[in-house]
Subunit: 301 residues, 4 copies
């Protein structure tokens, strides 16, 4: 079927290519003239037959909002926007409500698969009305792996990005679990072969997983991880997961711990731990304590 | 090669069977007369040619210690004990030191694989001296999957059980990550198809794993987990992992959070949360507060 | 000085009374005819001399927003609104921006002190422009304890509610620390006198605090907390603190753990722990497992 | 009454001085000739009238164990040892069992109060048999503050050190709660006066406490804590509290989080976070990934 694709970077470009390989007619727009088929959103909309389907694959936040605002002026009632970036599910709902006023439909799609997706297919999690999802189904079918797995219509608008967000939150927890296990083995004086241990776990154990595969690969190249600093970025989804858990009164100690560990990893020095150090200094009854008449007693600990 | 197997329950019995299938000569002892080849440890030792190899597969703790103590009297210098149960690595080290005085060697083996191991092979993680591990290598080779993976000689005595313990700690964290993600999706009013979402993640995502496979299977039979109570046991290994982390000054927020969630799941009522409730009651300046002359002020919150 | 007070419930009524005791001229409005001096916001505004100062002490959220919207129509440039409820600091900032367009100033005030405040004074934390805070300073001076402590101008608009929010977050962590210590002593078979232990800590120790005083009082009436259920509500501020920490990339493991413990305390059954139970069931290789052809291996643990 | 005091350092020396001020007859031994009254434990025991009471105030661990072993040879049935150092409660129980064979009694005493204790009194938490505690009661009465508070007989042998341990665990949680609150306020762009905010909380709030007093004092000298590194030691008691919680199946998320934050503060680089960084690198499908034929798909995130 025919599809407009806005954003032809690493993700959008590969997805467009996979769709074309599968016989779909993709009209692409990007700010980069070398990547695009059409020179403007106006031209893109003009090239598509109504009712149109336009897939957005641009950076989350401002860029996505701006593209949607512009498209809302250009598209007609009956057209469909699929937002495939990393939007927050609450933003999806707001946008869908606004677009509904002009009869434009909205589907949100969480996309997993990275640079390997073009060849192997993408995981696709979508939210939206059944009729809108059905209309775009040939596109989804072409994007997922050839096995036909990897697709879910998770619920109404926002559900796609919601479950992608939760996926990433789970990922944070799993990664941190492996990380803690690694550190404990490395800190002990008892385990001589940490990389070999992880490698052995790839068969017959409970923890076998794609993340374990990746860790074994990483340790093959750098058995003691000497080339890396313990510094980890976090994406919006991890934060959103914790905030959604708080909003829904769901205990999320593991996912939040994993997120906080990343926060801490990026600090040159920890303000919180300065407070601990300051308080411990105060216990000691050092000089500074003499200058105050209160409190009366300074316990040892 | 020839092997004595002490403990022919679900695990030991299946392992003995797999070893025999692979051509090894196993002499088995169990307290249950229906399962055993010999009627006593004395007879078992008598039936084995020196230098002997005896594999212990009995419940951790007292039973294992008692068996080792008895064997230490019966075995000769040059013989080898392989402790395949869930011993604590510190106990392994103590036992090995004692046995060394009479020339008996000790190897600890963490075994993973459960009831499927007989057919598919076990994950085996061992600790001990290289010469002792090498001597028993044909046994290990027969127990692991036919691919030859799933084995590691992790270090000296205790290292096998140490890495098995860490494996289980990681497992706790991974399970809790999935559990939190599940609860968040179930608590939201936005996700209509939670089982389908997990199922879709089995392809092309970061969280794909054996645990995800198991969760999808569980949700197929009981999509809202209505047949289960949120009550989870913990094994010694989870606790030991947290305690080892504390001993080694390794931050383990995820693994400990997962363990604590299990503790809490088994409480009819939480004493800690009674304290929170009691303190909140006190804030209110209710009747009880009137009976005291202190403290002067009761803040709102 | 003259002050309009909107909301004469337990908090607002006591504050108005304390202000009058200190010689201030308070005109009060409430929906309850028995409590109020004037019958409407219109009448309240009419009774005050310009430039007016109006203190809001109504339930957070809709009620507060509605009152501010109405007042924004009635007040003149140069007037000042003090929002003393539990608003979110981001809402404060939005409101202040809107009011600024009509020249009305806005100060947010976090208030601590509960039912004891009338007699003993309130803790007051304010945010706003220096000139606005200065203008209302006589009011703040009358509300705080007679010692003159308990007041801070923490920063611009929103800062008052921000630091009140953080105060409550810290409170959550402190309460949970005592709660965990209580549970550990109660769970051990070694401590015979838990209430006496807490009581002894009121002198000469590091943990002496108003919360400890409250706990000792609670244990005097109910030494084993048998009259209470381990069920704890949470207020918005605890949630907001965690969300603000996430927004600012600040690790907050203790405050979030304390919040999550409250969430968990209110669950009849934990969906997350059902997942743990379900996964543990799957390990066992029970009947349900036989009906699937995948996965190949089911490890013991 | 008469008391032998072993260990006359900062703590033991001050305690001996306070006891003498209150009219008790203290015979002191220390390895430092300048501090002691007697030159050996033998001489100390010889100078005391039976039944003797000997208070140990030496470094925890080896030094304490060695002193007890030596004293067990020198003392007679009916004598009493009070161990006032920071022993683990399990060690107390072992020692008491051994001493009981020769009729020597054992009481463990957790002592709080630091350098201010000589003047203001110490918090004393003891464990032991009632008759032994009663015998030493005049000593305890002289050590605690003149108000008579600050003492508890918490239970049998070990209970004194157990509750002192829990006290310190609670202290960890409280300190971390303040630390997180500080960091959040410092990280925001909204709070202009962090020290003033803490200061204002000393009146009329829920968080008022001796730790808050200390923090306010520390911030007076160094308002942005610029002179300190975020590096915090931990004492044995914090670790023991977490381990005891795990042993007793008590959820302790706050105390353990506080402990882990200290562990992390002392790491130049975090091995765990290197694993996170390594895994994130692997996602990207970078060069290293090309050299493997597995896994098939590399998702974006």
């Amino acid at each position: 079927m025919q599809l407009g694709m806005v954003g032809l970077g690493k993700m959008g470009g590969n997805m467009a290519a996979r769709l074309r390989d599968k016989g779909h007619d993709v009209v692409g727009f990007d700010f980069n003239p070398e990547l695009r088929d059409v020179a403007s959103l106006e031209e893109l909309v003009g090239r598509l037959d109504a009712p149109r389907v336009v897939w957005l694959m641009v950076p989350a936040g401002e860029a996505t909002s701006a593209a949607i605002e512009k498209l809302s002026d250009l598209l007609d009632a009956g057209d469909l926007i699929i937002e495939g970036g990393n939007s927050h599910y609450v933003d999806d709902r707001k946008r869908a409500d606004i677009l509904k006023q002009s009869g434009v439909s909205y589907v949100d799609a969480g996309v997993s698969g990275g640079v390997w997706g073009r060849e192997n297919g993408y995981g696709i999690m979508v939210g939206g009305a059944a009729e809108d999802v059905d209309r775009a189904r040939p596109i989804f079918d072409a994007l997922v792996p050839d096995t036909g797995g990897g697709f879910v219509h998770a619920g109404g608008v926002g559900a796609g990005h919601f479950v992608k967000m939760v996926h990433n939150g789970i990922e944070y927890g799993m990664m941190q679990a492996f990380a803690e296990g690694y550190e404990l083995m490395a800190a002990s004086d008892i385990v001589d072969d940490v990389p070999g241990t992880f490698d052995s776990w790839r068969e017959g154990t409970v923890v076998r997983s794609w993340l374990l595969d990746l860790l074994v690969r990483a340790l093959k190249g750098d058995p003691e991880l000497e080339e890396l600093r313990g510094y980890a970025q976090d994406s919006g989804e991890g934060r959103w997961t914790v905030q959604a858990a708080v909003d829904h009164a769901v205990p999320a100690p593991v996912i939040s711990s994993a997120l906080f560990a990343r926060f801490a990893s990026r600090q040159e020095d920890s303000p919180a731990m300065k407070v601990i150090a300051a308080l411990r200094n105060q216990f000691g009854g050092h000089a500074v304590a003499k200058t105050t008449d209160d409190p009366a007693r300074t316990p040892r600990s």
